[in-house]
């Protein structure tokens, strides 16, 4: 049998999984994750996660949108089709502002959605944890910590023993079927 994807420890309550997550972080694991049916406040801190990188995508999208709006108006008014409208100059940053502003919002929103897909590696139609027989409970009333076998500190006996020390409801081996 090939190497498993990882070990899963099942917990009955949010506080239990919260404390387990802290212990896993303190033990120094890097490739692991927590599965909960709803967001748990403070879980990011307990897992030691850094802040999301999505705002950077939003900002870049916004800047591109603003520049696109201004450059379009500048190119059209100054070179492509110069036309005097209402006695105004061919280009000024004032009158095309609504165009640039709306494009800022539009592309910032696209940047946010795109950034969310990229950082979450979406779309993801398959994940090895789906092979777990109680997977449905993870979207309803149970909580789980999964330590992947790809982690440097992972060893079949020691990791199982470590998870036992967290007092989970059960421990399961997760296999990655696609690799079989």
């Amino acid at each position: 049998m090939s190497k498993p994807y990882g070990y899963l420890a099942l917990f009955e309550s949010a506080p239990a999984v919260y404390h387990a997550a802290r212990s896993v972080r303190e033990a120094g694991f890097k490739k692991w994750d927590v599965f909960t049916p709803f967001p748990i406040h403070g879980m990011d801190g307990a897992m030691g996660l850094h802040r999301s990188k999505v705002p950077a995508f939003t900002l870049i999208g916004g800047i591109i949108g603003f520049a696109t709006g201004m450059l379009t108006a500048w190119y059209m008014g100054q070179f492509d089709y110069p036309l005097i409208v209402g006695g105004k100059p061919f280009f000024s940053p004032i009158f095309p502002f609504p165009v640039a502003y709306e494009l800022t919002i539009l592309l910032a929103a696209f940047g946010t959605i795109g950034g969310m897909f990229i950082t979450n590696r979406l779309p993801m139609h398959y994940h090895p944890v789906m092979n777990y027989d109680k997977f449905r409970h993870l979207t309803d009333d149970k909580f789980a910590v999964v330590i992947e076998s790809g982690d440097e500190l992972f060893s079949e006996a020691a990791t199982r023993e470590f998870l036992e020390s967290l007092h989970p409801a059960e421990i399961a081996v997760i296999n990655d079927e696609e690799e079989e």
Binding site: G42, P55, L59, G86, G87, K88, I94
Partner: protein
């Protein structure tokens, strides 16, 4: 909703022995002395520009009034949305808005002086003086077509009535919200919450009307030729920015007081305040720019002159207001906007820095909106534009009214509890997180 949700024992922080009475009394004395000094300036006038001390008086009050109006709006918005996280912050606003009646008193001399005085050369609201020469026009105010058309609104009797109405609305709302919230501390009666929410629903409309028309009466009518439908919204946005920044500074002060919010207030409260500050920074820019944009595009002389005054002298050369205008665009919008976009800047000393920054440029925004006026030099249409400058009355009024507002806050904070201990959402607020 249950009627007993006491999270904190009422005996925990006994209101009786909360003493900072002497310090607050000092603020009252300093405030009165500085306002008396300003009054000397108001009555002796200024030779080169007789109306300038009067304008300084308007500036000094407007700065603090805008803060209190912003705080009153914020209180009502939080009641309307039944906000949980903000309950401990709301109490600081309740302490602050108790100063409305004092501001009404400080404003009163302006109303009396402008209506009663025989020689109106020192009054910047030149529409009150039918003999005044219209700057850049022909003849006097009484013969001015634009004044004649607007005379139904811009009448002195109606002006006094409106002054009473504005301060009546602000004061009544502020005092009712205070009374009901303090009453809940003592009795734990949650009907105070329902009453407050109902009043906030009506109060938002009343306060919006009062604020809009006050801005039209006191600031916009300084150049009564002008038309703009966005002016009231500009003032609302400015009030919100000033109110939020002042609230943040108040929170920092109270967070350092043992009998204040020490150990109660959390970084999350400051972060959420920073988020609203960012939102209203964008809103202020949106409104201010839209007003400029519409007038720029329409290009009608009755509207554009107002912006031209803030850029050019009568002979077409650049004047001092051009620099102020640029300062507002870059330092009152771009700097706070980009600064507050960053997550880490919404905490601790970094948030305090930007709050002080915004308040400073809010004052400059008020200068920019209030001070520039065309001053007639002769009856042939020659005029000059009042340049940017800080007169000593501006300084004494700014500090004097500020001392009165701080005195009123400390007085209230010494008498009532630092947090509404029996508010049904107090637990939610104390455990606030992102």
């Amino acid at each position: 909703m249950s009627t007993s949700s006491d999270v904190i024992s009422p005996s925990g922080s006994a209101a009786a022995d909360r003493g900072s009475g002497n310090k607050s009394f000092l603020f009252l004395i300093v405030g009165l002395v500085l306002i008396a000094l300003s009054a000397i300036g108001l009555f002796t006038g200024s030779e080169t520009d007789p109306a300038r001390p009067f304008v300084g008086w308007i500036l000094g009050i407007s700065f603090w009034l805008s803060i209190l109006i912003g705080m009153l709006f914020l209180t009502m918005i939080w009641w309307m949305f039944d906000a949980g996280w903000s309950v401990i912050i709301r109490r600081q606003l309740e302490h602050a808005v108790g100063a409305f009646p004092y501001l009404a008193l400080i404003f009163l001399p302006l109303v009396l002086l402008s209506v009663l005085s025989g020689d109106k050369t020192g009054i910047p609201w030149i529409w009150m003086n039918s003999d005044a020469i219209v700057p850049g026009g022909h003849g006097t105010v009484a013969h001015d077509v634009l004044y004649q058309s607007k005379a139904g609104y811009l009448g002195q009797g109606f002006f006094i009535v409106r002054y009473v109405l504005y301060f009546g609305v602000w004061t009544t709302l502020a005092l009712l919200f205070r009374r009901w919230s303090f009453n809940m501390d003592r009795t734990g009666d949650h009907s105070n919450v329902h009453r407050s929410r109902k009043l906030a629903a009506a109060g938002l409309f009343l306060c919006a009307f009062a604020t809009t028309f006050a801005a039209i009466d006191w600031f916009k009518s300084l150049n009564y030729h002008w038309f703009s439908t966005m002016y009231g919204v500009w003032f609302f946005a400015a009030c919100m920015r000033a109110g939020l920044s002042a609230t943040v500074l108040t929170l920092f002060y109270m967070a350092g007081r043992e009998d204040g919010l020490k150990g109660i207030i959390k970084p999350a409260h400051f972060y959420l305040m920073g988020c609203i500050m960012l939102a209203f920074t964008v809103f202020w820019a949106y409104i201010s720019f839209s007003q400029y944009f519409l007038i720029y595009n329409a290009n009608i002389p009755e509207e554009t002159f107002w912006y031209n005054m803030r850029e050019l002298n009568a002979d077409g050369s650049k004047n001092s207001w051009w620099w102020v205008s640029m300062g507002l665009i870059f330092l009152h919008f771009f700097v706070p906007f980009l600064y507050l976009l960053w997550y880490r800047n919404k905490f601790a000393a970094r948030l305090r820095f930007i709050a002080i920054w915004i308040l400073t440029f809010h004052l400059l925004d008020l200068y920019w909106n209030i001070v520039p006026q065309k001053l007639a030099e002769d009856s042939h249409g020659h005029y000059m534009i009042r340049p940017f400058g800080i007169s000593w009355v501006d300084v004494t009024m700014f500090l004097g009214v500020g001392a009165i507002v701080i005195w009123s806050f400390l007085k209230s904070a010494a008498r009532e509890r630092p947090i509404p201990i029996r508010d049904p959402r107090i637990e939610e607020s104390i455990n606030c997180h992102e």
